[in-house]
């Protein structure tokens, strides 16, 4: 599903924030990416959703070498990825409905299908009465539900969550993680970046730990292992 081969990355002419990163994640797996603030968790996710390119090495996604694909080939691939951000990144002047509908409309779905799917999902996440509300008028919890709905509406095969528990209370955070687990059980590959090691440990899932620009795979109940799995 995802494979990094000796990936290095820097922003502009800055120092390498990621060095010699190699790992492979299988379809329908669930991984955490951990590390302290500034360790490069968000950068790893950006490489996966292709908003940044590696400065060296190769990134494979959906069996394609995406690190060298031309720009115009990326949008169709991105439509198979749902991303949830800590600050939600909703579009503030669009209604809740239009925010959630966006991925479907960008994929060229018919308005009939869009209306049906978005109505169902927003009702399911308990926002049936807030279709027309703009995100700034919603509570933090409601905004996160809109963000989650937008990430899953197009049935992505990969869900990335960047610090999804940062801006909501613990109960809400656990509910989200349970939801992601549920989607993972249904076959979706899930990657959650968090600086909260306890959270990751508590969930009993393997985690990729970033430190000093390097990565290590830590299996639950196992010591740190510096040997990268390779295909």
């Amino acid at each position: 599903m995802i494979r990094f081969e000796n990936v290095g990355m820097r922003y502009g002419a800055g120092p390498e924030v990621l060095r010699d990163i190699s790992f492979q994640l299988d379809v329908s797996s669930f991984h955490f990416v951990t590390g302290s603030s500034g360790a490069g968790k968000s950068s790893v996710l950006k490489l996966i959703y292709m908003s940044e390119r590696p400065s060296r090495g190769v990134v494979w996604l959906f069996d394609k070498q995406v690190s060298s694909l031309p720009r115009r080939a990326l949008p169709p691939l991105r439509r198979h990825i749902g991303v949830i951000f800590q600050d939600f990144r909703l579009i503030n002047h669009l209604s809740t409905f239009d925010n959630v509908a966006l991925p479907l409309r960008l994929a060229g779905e018919s308005e009939v299908k869009v209306t049906e799917t978005v109505t169902d999902l927003l009702t399911w996440v308990g926002l049936a009465d807030r279709f027309e509300a703009r995100p700034p008028t919603l509570s933090g919890g409601q905004q996160q539900r809109v963000a989650i709905a937008r990430a899953v509406i197009a049935r992505p095969s990969l869900i990335l969550a960047d610090e999804p528990t940062g801006n909501v209370d613990d109960a809400m955070a656990m509910r989200l993680l349970r939801l992601l687990e549920e989607m993972n059980r249904l076959g979706t590959t899930v990657i959650v970046a968090t600086h909260n090691h306890h959270l990751a440990t508590r969930m009993g899932q393997p985690r990729l730990h970033l430190d000093g620009g390097r990565i290590a795979l830590i299996r639950p109940e196992a010591p740190v292992d510096r040997v990268m799995p390779r295909s």
């Binding site: 959703y49 908003s51 991105r78 503030n92 239009d98 991925p103 994929a107």
Partner: protein, 297 residues
């Protein structure tokens, strides 16, 4: 997508000035174009009026009979000249009619020695050699004056043509200014909306989708500015037309203000100006966004 914009254009000041600049440009371009159209029509009229005729004027003869004798060889000479279509001696009565506004119809005129005028129609496609003709006339009838209206107007035509060329240059410059303005406004918009653009990209939007949103928005601004500019230009032309009419009441022939009356087809040419402006804003915004996004990773 026929819905509104995903990018919150309504909230940014970066392009708010664009309609006004476009309005100003369309106003100036519209007036320049109207002037050129009027000038072109006038040049056309003059050209048609003067290029086919010339006049040969013979000095007054003592008697009508003497006059006829002097005229005959000149008429023959003219008829033999290549490029001359027809030759007609104006009868004395016609010449008298010509001077009537100045001299009246009284007895005096009958006694007056009038010049003899020969009206010559020439073939505009094969104009005669005027220098040679003038030389021959000088020997055949000393004192004869060959008056080619065309020659007198040529300098005026040249002036008119250079004004038209300048108008085209001005229109092109206004077009370039419109392109540059749109480029800068669009770049500013790209910077302001960087965040939303990034979100749209992450959600799977193509560059062309984002470019079309910017272009559609620019088109709206361009149309709004273009219509404003055209309305203002039309109002100005109408005002000048009224002023001309008012001046005409003061006295016939008193032309303080040039008469401005555009024909329907000339108006439809003016309507093309805001349409061109809108097209410029649309395609410039489209190209600017495509260019900027293509440089992203």
């Amino acid at each position: 997508m026929s819905r509104g914009f995903d990018i919150p254009f309504a909230r940014d000041g970066s392009v708010r000035f664009l309609p006004w600049i476009v309005a100003l440009m369309v106003y100036l371009a519209g007036l320049a174009l109207a002037g050129a159209l009027l000038l072109d029509a006038a040049l056309d009229d003059w050209s048609r009026g003067v290029s086919g005729v010339m006049t040969v004027e013979l000095p007054p003869a003592a008697t009508e009979q003497a006059g006829d004798i002097a005229v005959a060889p000149v008429v023959a000479l003219l008829q033999a000249t290549p490029g001359v279509a027809s030759v007609k001696l104006l009868p004395r009565a016609a010449v008298a009619k010509l001077v009537e506004p100045w001299l009246g119809t009284g007895q005096a005129i009958a006694a007056l020695a009038l010049p003899q005028l020969i009206d010559v129609r020439i073939d505009p496609a094969h104009r005669p050699d005027f220098a040679a003709l003038r030389a021959k006339l000088a020997t055949a009838a000393p004192g004869a004056v060959l008056d080619d209206a065309r020659l007198r107007f040529d300098r005026l035509f040249d002036l008119g043509m250079s004004i038209e060329v300048m108008t085209v240059v001005i229109l092109v410059l206004i077009g370039i200014a419109a392109v540059l303005t749109t480029v800068f406004a669009t770049r500013a918009g790209l910077a302001v909306h960087q965040n939303v653009i990034e979100i749209l990209h992450i959600l799977g939007a193509r560059d062309s989708y984002i470019a079309r949103q910017f272009a559609r928005h620019a088109l709206g601004l361009g149309l709004r500015g273009g219509v404003t500019g055209l309305v203002l230009a039309a109002a100005t032309l109408a005002l000048l037309g009224h002023a001309a009419a008012a001046a005409a009441i003061l006295g016939p022939g008193l032309r303080l203000v040039p008469a401005i009356t555009l024909l329907p087809w000339q108006w439809s040419v003016l309507v093309l100006v805001p349409i061109a402006a809108a097209a410029i804003t649309y395609f410039t915004a489209l190209a600017t966004v495509h260019g900027a996004l293509a440089r992203m990773p």
